[in-house]
Amino acid sequence: MKVVVIGNGMVGYKFCEKLLSKGAGSVQLSVFGEETRPAYDRVHLSEYFSGKTADELSMAPAGWYAANGITLYTGDPIQSIDPTNKTVHSFHGTTAPYDYLVLATGSSAFVPPVPGVEKQGVFVYRTIEDLEMISSFAKGAKTGAVIGGGLLGLEAAKALLDLGIRDTHVIEFADRLMPRQIDDAGSKMLKAKLENLGLKIHTGKNTAQILGNDAITGMQFTDETSIHTDILIISAGIKPRDELAKLCGLETGQRGGIVVNEHLQTSDPAIFAIGECALFQGMIYGLVAPGYEMADVVATRLTGGSKQFAPYDMSTKLKLIGIDVASFGNPFVPQAEGRTVVFEDTMKGIYKRINLTHDGKQLLGGILVGDAEAYNMLLQTCKNRIVLPPNPEDMILGTRGGSGADAGAGVAGLPDDALICSCENISKKDVCDAVSSGCETVDSIKKCTKAGTGCGGCVPMLKDLMVHTMKAQGKYIRNVLCEHFGYSRQELYDVVKLKELKSYEDVLGMLGNGDGCELCKPAVSSILASLWNEMILKKGNDTAQDSNDRFLANIQKGGTYSVVPRIPGGEISPEKLIVIGQIAQKYNLYTKITGGQRIDMFGAHLNDLPQIWKELIDAGFESGHAYGKALRTVKSCVGSTWCRFGLHDSVSYAIRIEERYRGLRAPHKLKSAVSGCIRECAEAKSKDFGIIATEKGWNLFVCGNGGSKPQHALLLASDIDSETCIRYIDRFLMFYIKTADPLTRTATWLNKMEGGIDYLRNVVVNDSLGIAAQLEAEMQLLVDNYQCEWKEVVDSPELQKRFAHFVNAPREKDPTAQFESMRDQKRAVDWK
């Protein structure tokens, strides 16, 4: 069987690809293309200006056609078709016989009959050659204009911006932009956003003539106004290439296009037409996805299958100059046929409209401008007639407060035949099957199914489907530390423990690769400290610590450090207060009470740190670990010893808790508090673990925090005695330390935990995993191994050596550390 394809554009190419994939072994396939290069991606043509090469835009490598037995004639347009003898004749004199002929001649740009369109500097926007000509002409141009405010026109305007023409006009004949896709309100929003980018948008404007002698100098409009411009791109629509069909007597439409039936057959049954040249039920389909579908219908038929073309969904999502615009289903449902929900935010430039059936149960269509993240879900909801949730507006607004369930069921709720990639016609089932058969990255899914290789709009959905499918199979989604470790923190914790590794270098050598970095070094150091609780500056681990841990102090503006001794529960004697005052005086330090009921001394030079700490330790202080991802402070109210409302002695209990967990290193800092009654003066509910006295004992709250996203702690257990409370805290903290990702506070850890607080309570209180005894034993080991880090430094001349600014002048302080005075103290000089 001999098949000849006229046209080597995207759809013509796709036909060849489909025909091959359907096993057309005995087919002799010849392709004639008018352009000099093989088919390329016209959808992403404007990327040619932002750096993509013609090769990168190519649909298939040059050798693809020959390798698949296809005879390709480029730069050789067909001049005539002889339907009687079933032959075609090319410009270069080739005569090729066919059994079936496929016309994929596409379209050319529609140029309105305006006087002056022949002038230099007036272009259309269709081929790479057009782009090359525009590109070379634009070098001398300062202002530009585009006729056409539709999809292609705005693409062309983007091209002019990319070419450096900041002063660009868009002229649209209709009274709004993208009249086929969006409504007036959407157009206004889009217009405002485009104008912010410097485009000048004129709607309802009709060009009367193009000004200039040989070359364009400006444009005159029918309303007597005019503009100056050096270059003009006409992108006012497409004209089907039907001249060959007309010439050989095929039926064509009045306004162009080759008439086809549901098999894409023309009036000659041996001749098919696909893509933008085909006129189906009075409509030209100017998008690539229906063109591909047409290619599939014909390829299926020629290989013995049966498939029909049906009116195609024209939903579309695109990024115009960085602005999301989408329309789906029927974007313009009139009032009589349904209801609309509209969301408009002129601050952020977002417009969303959804059209619902009168009963609010089904989605008919909609428009998204400025934020099209919901497009894929909305499109699928619309196409699959999924019954809407009770508050359909949540689909464009997101849920607002309340303990509402998800707005939609997400990708899990879609039927198997939901179309995920409309460019390549790939269903949810196709994607999930690919994931099940081993495509576990988005790239491999793209390779294997071709989904996401067209417009790319479905890629986020591919990722969701991949995660969903893998989770459904019980697979663990890789969540690795960094490029040097193929493990999550939790996995690494377990392996380091099993192999009893004690230094960063050993961990990297046995479990990692490369040289490490600022991400894995602190994470591994934290794991080592949480496992063994050894002195963090020994075994070469000092240089694997974050800077604060490495120097056991908090680096501050100007490069000096702050010093925080532990003041358990916030209780301090007058003698100790005096010592702090004396030390601050002696070393000229700024003092401030912290949020955690301690005293911070700022402005200490690196060289002075060991001496400052010697004096503090001699007076009975120890490290406060303010520099570590570790237990910071257990804040307390004064409690029942003084307070007339107090139920229990919150200070004593806070001291006991703080001394139990001091120095405990964790994935992130840990804060705690104990309140002596329900008035909650210690603000325990804003802590990682907080304890509040009740008549019968203590209530234990977990996973709260202040910070940028404040979150109240949740009740884990109520009316428990002091011993039980500590056992639960042991289990809770060890479970957190073993399973959280690096730099994840307990609140975030809980938020990500499946089952939430109920699951956590089951593990900690009901011992559902059977690990409670082990967690308690592990914690006890850490408690028993505690030593004050600063005491070890003060006792070790070797460790002290590192506390010098200049290695070759150890007594000299950093001369660049500068201070100013403020309110009788000093402060760091502001940085630049």
């Binding site: 490029e483 040097h484 270098e505 990297l508 490369g514 040289d515 490490g516 970095c517 600022e518 894995c520 070094k521 602190p522 070469g540 000092d542 240089t543 694997a544 974050d546 800077s547 604060n548 490495r550 120097f551 680096i555 503006k557 100007g558 490069g559 590192r802 600014h805 200049f806 290695v807 070759n808 002048a809 000299e812 950093d814 660049t816 550390a817 940085w831 630049k832």
Partner: protein, 125 residues
């Protein structure tokens, strides 16, 4: 900068090799200049850069963590974790920080030498 420090380079003794922690850095004083010196034991290499982080003008790079990115050795500033190549000094964090000045380093007989422009070029430097 390091590329032009060839014929006109003079070497000064910074410290002994044992003075610099393994896989870490120290700050070396050279006249009024502060130089961060790194003993990249894991790669068996030494590097030196300016000690000043160009992001907020802080004398801190010697106290940062070293590591690699796709095999290229780098230093992370302790203040905001901006990272810089130890090969050519360029900022790797995607911010528009200036590049670091890089100094050549050599070790001989347990001593570390850092190369600086010879005296006549010192003023321009």
């Amino acid at each position: 900068m390091s590329n032009i420090l060839t014929a006109s380079t003079s070497w000064f003794i910074a410290c002994s090799t044992a003075d610099v922690p393994e896989n870490g850095g120290v700050c070396v004083k050279y006249k009024n200049t502060q130089i961060a010196l790194f003993n990249f034991t894991r790669r068996g290499e030494w590097y030196a850069t300016q000690n000043l982080c160009p992001h907020r003008m802080q004398m801190a790079l010697s106290r940062g963590m070293i590591g690699s990115q796709q095999g290229e050795p780098k230093i992370a500033c302790p203040f905001h974790k901006n990272t810089f190549s130890l090969i050519d000094g360029r900022c790797l964090s995607g911010s528009d920080c200036d590049s670091l000045t890089i100094y050549p380093v050599k070790t001989e007989d347990g001593l570390v030498y850092i190369g600086v422009p010879a005296e006549e070029y010192a003023i321009a430097f």
